[in-house]
């Protein structure tokens, strides 16, 4: 932060001391966000989660560098082969390389998880903010609507939409998940806003002439950022599980697109389950590690934003 000429003045014997002291003091001011970050970095499990998740993300980004093989290319001469020097995790029922599918499959899981989370966040923050800030009739209307969506059984709804649509793309899949999950986040944000609305600084903000829009974006959302980030993170883990689950029962993103869920669905075959653990253990482990690390990060974030929750 300090400009480099500071170094030059240190040699200067007449340089006054007080400004330095003042700077030292002001650099001690940590924003609540910085304080949370420091608490987060002290949480070993959460940092471990970050390391594991980063490894998985890097592996998915640099998948083309880690394998030369095309994950969608079938080789009918090599169906259900065991591990070999060419295919280190063997091949699947259509002769596609399992290792390449594992690497590329992580992309789908992460993209679906992340974009569904982002989409849910947009719907949730918008509706939750309006509902919590304005209250009254608007609030009742939005809340009854969320009740309605919550009352619909998720799986039945998702399966119906998937069955009706001829081809499922990743984007469509994300929309289906997000459109059925958003009520949870909306309710959480509404609740946070309702409690914030009673804080006196909101009255203070109104008394200095801040508009509704400004109060929501400048004063409410920064104060609600803790619960929002925490829930969004944990939600992402949930989305990845949903994606894998639907793919596993064959209602997810269709073959030959590699996803971890699709790879696991191979294990529905008892022969593969018994003879080729190298085909289904890695994607299973992939889902497990991704979800676990995201949950660790989510827990770490929750403790970081709300230090009281950490007292045992």
């Amino acid at each position: 932060m300090q400009p480099s000429p500071q170094g030059a003045t240190e040699i200067d014997p007449v340089s006054p001391q007080p400004p330095l002291d003042q700077n030292a003091r002001s650099s001690n001011s940590k924003s609540p966000f910085q304080l949370a970050l420091r608490r987060f970095l002290n949480n070993k499990l959460a940092v471990l989660g970050i390391v594991v998740l980063l490894t998985i993300i890097l592996a998915s980004i640099f998948a083309p560098l880690l394998t030369d093989l095309d994950p969608t290319k079938s080789d009918l001469m090599k169906i259900e082969n065991g591990p070999s020097s060419e295919h280190i995790l063997g091949t699947d029922g259509s002769g596609r390389d399992n290792f390449a599918r594992l690497l590329y499959g992580s992309r789908i899981s992460l993209i679906v998880g992340f974009s569904a989370m982002l989409f849910t966040l947009i719907i949730g923050v918008t509706l939750g903010s309006i509902s919590g800030y304005y209250g009254g009739k608007v609030d009742s209307l939005i809340m009854r609507f969320t009740d309605l969506v919550l009352a619909l059984p998720f799986l039945v709804l998702a399966l119906t939409i998937i069955a009706l649509v001829p081809t499922i793309t990743t984007a469509l899949f994300v929309c289906i998940i997000a459109l059925t999950i958003w009520p949870n986040l909306t309710r959480i944000i509404r609740g946070t806003f309702l409690s914030l609305r009673e804080q006196e600084f909101v009255l203070g903000a109104r008394a200095i002439g801040a508009s509704d829009f400004r109060i929501i974006f400048r004063h409410f959302i920064p104060n609600a950022i803790g619960p929002i980030i925490v829930n969004a993170t944990l939600m992402m883990a949930q989305m990845i599980i949903i994606e894998s689950g639907l793919s596993f029962i064959g209602m997810g993103i269709p073959q030959p697109t590699p996803t971890w869920g699709n790879m696991l669905s191979e294990a529905q075959n008892i022969r593969i389950l018994r003879n080729h653990p190298e085909a289904w253990i890695p994607p299973g482990l992939g889902i497990f590690l991704t979800v676990l690390s995201i949950n660790f990060i989510g827990d770490g974030l929750r403790d970081a934003f709300d230090p009281k929750s950490n007292k045992r």
Partner: protein
């Protein structure tokens, strides 16, 4: 008092429509005006409608409350019918407000500097750099010696008194014509109270503001107010200059308040009290609102509510006891 009033409130009624379809008349037919450079104290117990009066002036009454009737004029401009959009340009700029609870009145996630700059940039069209300079100046004005460092600090790093100074800096940042101080010292130490009130007084003189000081502390009134309005049950029951009120209080309620103060001259074992409690705002008596607790209650007090009657010097009282002598 030749110059026109900064604020004149006429026949203000703010009612709350409760869920059990009762109407709480939190502010009922209130009239007063404030002139430049004048401090008017609004005194009363909890629930007497002081804060609702101040929020009505700011047009910050939320549902289920509503300003039913009356006019609030700021330098001749009517505020009651003003759209919310136009009102946001007046709040903070022409009317500044200081709150009771400095601990929660600042947003915990922004630095002090950010919060002052926000107001300055909202109401004045100035660059970020200029706003920063002005914010530092403001902090120095309200008594922060190391203003630059304070700019970067967060509310949790400051004490209550310091936060109240920041609130004052925010309230006066756009040199408002009217400053509303809603119990500015209630949450503070006695030693800090005097400093904060002195600061408000100093700022009043510097910017020739009108100050509406809301308090239940008669000591504060005696020290800082020019004129006093005593509120009870949503109505002004007595109004006059500070001297008139302390030397020749008329209304039984005002007398009750004064008797409940400890005095250095006479030592009595027990302080005077006013029997009973303030009736709920949705259940005021039909006649005089103080009739349920008044030691001098008469038959007609229970049936009809007296009007406020003023003598030539402007000392007004809402009580039948003084009706005869006026006539």
């Amino acid at each position: 008092m030749t110059n026109p009033a900064v604020l004149s409130v006429e026949d203000l009624k703010t009612y709350f429509y409760l869920e059990n379809s009762n109407i709480a008349k939190a502010v009922d037919r209130v009239n007063f005006s404030i002139h430049p450079g004048e401090t008017v104290a609004l005194v009363g117990e909890s629930g007497s409608g002081k804060s609702i009066t101040s929020l009505s002036i700011m047009q910050l009454i939320d549902k289920p409350g509503k300003i039913v009737n009356g006019s609030i004029q700021l330098e001749g401009r009517e505020l009651v019918q003003l759209s919310n959009r136009k009102m946001t340009k007046i709040r903070g700029k022409e009317v500044g407000m200081i709150f009771q609870e400095p601990m929660t009145a600042l947003n915990p996630v922004y630095t002090i500097g950010n919060q002052i700059i926000e107001v300055l940039r909202k109401h004045k069209k100035i660059s970020k750099k200029d706003a920063r300079k002005q914010a530092i100046e403001l902090l120095k004005t309200v008594g922060f010696p190391r203003a630059e460092a304070t700019m970067k600090e967060y509310p949790h790093q400051l004490s209550g008194g310091m936060r109240q100074r920041v609130m004052i800096a925010i309230a006066i940042s756009c040199e408002p014509k009217l400053l509303i101080a809603d119990e500015p010292t209630t949450a503070l130490d006695v030693t800090i109270q005097a400093q904060i009130l002195d600061l408000i007084n100093e700022m009043k003189k510097k910017f020739n503001m009108a100050v509406l000081l809301i308090t239940h502390d008669l000591g504060v009134v005696a020290e800082y107010a020019d004129r006093v309005l005593v509120m009870y049950g949503g109505q002004i029951v007595e109004q006059g200059t500070k001297r008139q009120l302390f030397k020749s209080a008329k209304h039984p309620y005002t007398n009750g308040l004064l008797e409940s103060l400890p005095s250095l001259d006479q030592s009595s074992d027990r302080l005077g009290t006013i029997k009973g409690t303030v009736p709920a705002a949705d259940n005021f008596p039909e006649g005089c609102r103080f009739s349920t607790r008044c030691p001098h209650v008469m038959e007609k007090c229970i049936k009809t509510n007296p009007d406020i009657l003023s003598d030539d010097s402007g000392h007004g009282v809402r009580c039948f006891l003084y009706e005869e002598e006026e006539k």
